[in-house]
């Protein structure tokens, strides 16, 4: 396959690539100056819509379309929130973008704020990225000093402030309304929708929440053009009018059992096999792969046989995964026990569930306890039916929960048990020889303390 010359990652490896000087030397901020001088906000919206850019944070919603949901003549203020809470296991591309090329993201942010008429942009940055904090703050300071932020930027009449806001290690702050609640100073319980953030978001004002990589793409679209962006990736299916295509370059994170874990840039549509072989140096230690997470743990699992599925917005869904997610691929080799994998996943989601709605709060906790019992050698075959039921019923898709964390918790359960059923059954039979077949209801409970 052709090697794609990095665009989003062009600063990686360049000494002081994160500085304003370096960014400008590579063509940065010129698009911003041009657009501020010659274009209107709606022009930028149209540009991003035309590019086919879909959000890189996990949901894959058309970015330009999302921007059009803002009310047309709102007196303001309108807020732009950059979701830098990147916490999806396996994902680290935002970190690299922020550490190595913060100005790219900032230029994208300023352009997006101009398009959406936002007057303030908050970058909600996860606590665990201290170097990103330092780099971003440095870049923001440079941008103010150069007149790219603040009042009346470059005489355009457009004013913008960008503020860093630090998180405190909660995954759910990556959910857009969880982020908003956290920014407002409350517990990060996602909001019920409607109203949607574009109508009533941060501080009850119209708000757009965009991902870091999406902002980087906006900067590159402004620099290199819509046609360039659309020349990369997977075009929309001509037979399916509802398919928006998967355009542009994508940062793929590769980790787990490969020789060269890392963040690699390639057109959307790369496959897991290509990622491992071409970029990742192959499965480590000369072993074979057994499975792979396609896009962050929430998306579920590919079996090795499914490794040729294109990693674009449509591909993973065809093999029963939740979607492309963050395109973070984690490879599991043949020695990995799927029971251990699923236990790790359930533990993650039980820890991160915000606890607001019943099916997720109790479902994530219950599935963890089931996995712990199975791991401890007390599992029953009927536990697998129960796990599948939990997996099939909790989530935004059936409508039983407020946000998509539950779907993310459910998909690994469904995929792991459906695609590796015999392994689970063997494990249960082997570790619980006397009890794996039990189907009796649980006897009455004992209360151990009264008050």
């Amino acid at each position: 396959m052709q090697t794609f010359k990095p665009v989003l990652l062009e600063a990686v490896g360049i000494p002081d690539g994160y500085t304003l000087a370096s960014y400008k030397s590579r063509g940065g901020y010129a698009p911003l100056e041009r657009i501020l001088a010659q274009k209107k906000p709606l022009d930028v919206v149209d540009m991003v819509k035309a590019s086919g850019l879909r959000g890189r944070g996990g949901a894959g919603f058309s970015t330009g379309l999302k921007w059009t949901f803002l009310p047309k003549d709102h007196p303001g203020p309108i807020y732009l929130c950059i979701n830098a809470d990147e916490s999806e296991p396996g994902t680290f591309n935002n970190r690299i973008l922020m550490e190595d090329d913060p100005h790219q993201m900032i230029e994208g942010t300023i352009l997006s704020a101009f398009a959406t008429r936002a007057s303030t942009a908050y970058i909600y940055l996860r606590y665990e990225y201290p170097q990103s904090w330092d780099r971003l703050q440095g870049a923001i300071d440079e941008a103010y000093a150069a007149g790219y932020l603040g009042n009346n930027i470059r005489g355009s009449g457009f004013s913008l402030n960008i503020y860093l806001h630090r998180g405190a290690a909660a995954y759910i702050c990556g959910e857009e309304t969880g982020l908003i609640e956290s920014l407002e100073g409350k517990r990060a319980w996602p909001r019920i929708k409607p109203p949607f953030p574009a109508v009533e978001g941060l501080f009850q004002k119209p708000t757009v929440v965009n991902n870091v990589e999406t902002m980087a793409c906006v900067a590159q679209i402004a620099r290199r053009g819509v046609d360039w962006f659309r020349s990369i990736g997977v075009p929309s299916d001509p037979n399916n009018p509802r398919d928006p295509g998967s355009y542009g370059p994508k940062l793929y994170c590769l980790s787990g059992h490969v020789e060269k874990p890392g963040c690699y840039e390639a057109p959307l549509g790369l496959t897991v096999r290509q990622l491992i072989d071409h970029f990742g140096g192959g499965v480590w230690k000369g072993r074979k792969a057994k499975a792979a997470i396609p896009g962050g743990i929430s998306m579920g699992l590919f079996t090795e046989a499914e490794f040729d599925t294109p990693l674009d917005f449509a591909g993973p869904g065809r093999v029963g995964c939740l979607g492309l997610g963050t395109a973070a691929v984690v490879v599991l080799d043949e020695t990995v026990s799927m029971v251990d994998f699923l236990h790790n996943s359930c533990r993650f989601f039980a820890h991160e569930s915000c606890g607001q709605c019943t099916p997720c709060r109790e479902g994530t906790s219950w599935s963890l306890r089931l996995l712990e019992r199975i791991k401890a050698g007390k599992g029953r075959l009927k536990d697998l039916e129960l796990l599948l039921e939990i997996g099939n019923t909790m989530g935004m898709m059936p409508g039983s929960t407020i946000c998509g964390l539950a779907d993310g918790a459910a998909w690994p359960i469904k995929n792991a048990i459906q695609k590796f059923r015999s392994e689970f059954e063997d494990f249960i039979r082997k570790t619980n020889p006397l009890g794996w077949m039990v189907t009796d209801p649980v006897p009455a409970l004992q209360i151990i303390s009264a008050h």
Partner: protein, 169 residues
């Protein structure tokens, strides 16, 4: 609105209050200062005791329960006593677990003589498990204060622990 109450037992120092007020123009209301204020206190004290929560609430014009509600959601802020001078987070999410993260955690905790989440008696280090630190390219990894420790092995983890212990206070 710097608290004019010169209570000598006050926990929020003037520099802390100044830092909080400096952020106030960024937000349209004071409730949004909650998390930044908690970080400002935590950065200095390595914990946010209940008294500090009450003071933050008073400064921001909120009920103490509202601030505590937010604080306790994150499971991040120690309250009863300060975290160690080094706060070490060992990642236990899938990418690190696949490359030995659990062994690293167990080894370093055992060497430190504490359970995950605990702090050594000399106050030098707290070791906690973290969920995906976003450094899967360097799994298994650990964030110790602001330093990311990459590609850990049980041996390098213990060596790090010893270096922490040897540090002057």
């Amino acid at each position: 609105m710097i608290a004019s109450n010169r209570n000598p037992n006050r926990i929020l120092t003037d520099p802390m209050l100044e830092k909080i007020e400096a952020l106030a123009p960024r937000y349209p209301n004071r409730r949004a200062l909650t998390l930044p204020a908690l970080h400002i206190v935590n950065d200095v004290l390595r914990h946010v005791p209940l008294e500090a929560v009450a003071e933050v609430a008073a400064v921001l014009g909120l009920a103490p329960a509202d601030v505590q509600d937010t604080l306790s959601f994150y499971g991040f802020f120690h309250q009863e006593q300060p975290a160690g001078r080094v706060r070490a987070w060992v990642c236990r999410s899938i990418s690190c677990a696949l490359r030995g993260g659990e062994e690293v955690l167990e080894t370093i905790c055992h060497a430190a003589g504490i359970q995950p989440g605990g702090t050594t008696a000399d106050g030098s280090i707290t070791i906690e498990s973290a969920e995906c630190l976003g450094a899967c390219d360097f799994a298994p990894c650990m964030l110790a204060n602001k330093d990311l420790h990459k590609n850990l092995t049980p041996e390098t983890a213990v060596a790090f622990l010893q270096s922490v212990r040897g540090r002057p206070e």
